[in-house]
Symmetry: C3
Subunit: 145 residues, 3 copies
């Protein structure tokens, strides 16, 4: 069985983006807001149609994530972000535009798991020193679209 | 670290099918019913235990998808199809039998996201001129099984 | 486009684990409890924070799975396990520690699909004679964490 170099490169990219998303969102869901912010570029942007203003830069992204994380912890709710249906399109050797779906599942301690929101997510990802990072993320909540 | 050619070929296949599903279903969920139909072979079949008759051929598949898409749009409901748990089994250099799970999440504008149905999906996929296409899809809704 | 051997090996691993999970959980959800138990090592352990005792060894895992499977069948409920957000970390040539999320979706015959539980799952996977198997699985239900 022969597989072309291009096919291998594309498959490697797809697996890397999925692995990146898994690691990234597990950081956020386990409350490591600052480590999560480090998965963005230094000048990264997190924008969402649910927020009046985007969070900009790692410090801004960390601050917003910390607040949300602490609120969830205070309310004893476990969040789980699932990113899936990843459609990755290479823009350059170290740049990818990825469109995916994201849902948030919430479970209160002692309570029932619930699908909180369904969204789609447009990511511009860049590879910096061998590590994929989000340069720009735009999340669209389906209920607001 | 060495990886056998066969292992690489299988991993490439798995990533390709996932990427195909992501691109395919994003077309449908964004209302591009005719482009979605083009992800089937010219003689492709879409069968479902929820439908009395399968849709056959791209024109038939497009017509059925267009009607459903327009109904959802008229009702201001955003659908998201998630295909996952992809179990791909190579049948030949350009043929794959893939068994996966599929859920549909619906969100009314201004409303609450909801898990609409859970299904499993059996796909016969073929590669035509380098592009994966569905030759036969059979969807089984869990509530009807 | 060049892709390093290490990058290829990591991507192959990630795709293999996803393929393994898909095949594994489709066995359980289709009621093949004994075949599912064979996806664990002979001395495999299945532990869960929802269970007072772990199931140990293939026979013990099969017995526990058989009971649950028969209960679901008797109640005419179709289960679907989705494992996703797979974060795989190589521990050796034939050993992987994988952290993922798992949800269970249940659909009663003639009824509405429902998100039953949200969990995270820590797996120690080993490759025995070319086949990935679970040596130790620990599931944490979010409502109990």
């Amino acid at each position: 069985m022969t597989t072309t170099d291009t096919a291998v490169a594309e498959a490697v990219l797809h697996a890397q983006i999925q692995q990146f998303y898994a690691g990234q969102m597990q950081l956020l869901d386990s409350g490591r807001a600052e480590d999560w912010a480090d998965t963005f570029t230094e000048d990264g942007v997190f924008a969402a149609n649910a927020h009046p203003q985007p969070a900009e830069g790692r410090a801004g992204i960390a601050a917003a994530a910390r607040k949300a994380t602490d609120d969830y912890a205070a309310n004893k709710i476990q969040r789980r972000h699932w990113l899936g249906m990843v459609n990755a399109e290479r823009r350059g050797p170290d740049e990818v535009f990825a469109q995916c779906y994201a849902i948030v599942i919430e479970t209160p301690r002692g309570g029932q798991a619930k699908l909180h929101v369904s969204t789609r997510c447009d990511d511009l990802l860049v590879r910096v020193e061998g590590r994929w990072q989000v340069k720009h993320r735009q999340v669209y909540r389906d209920d607001l679209s």
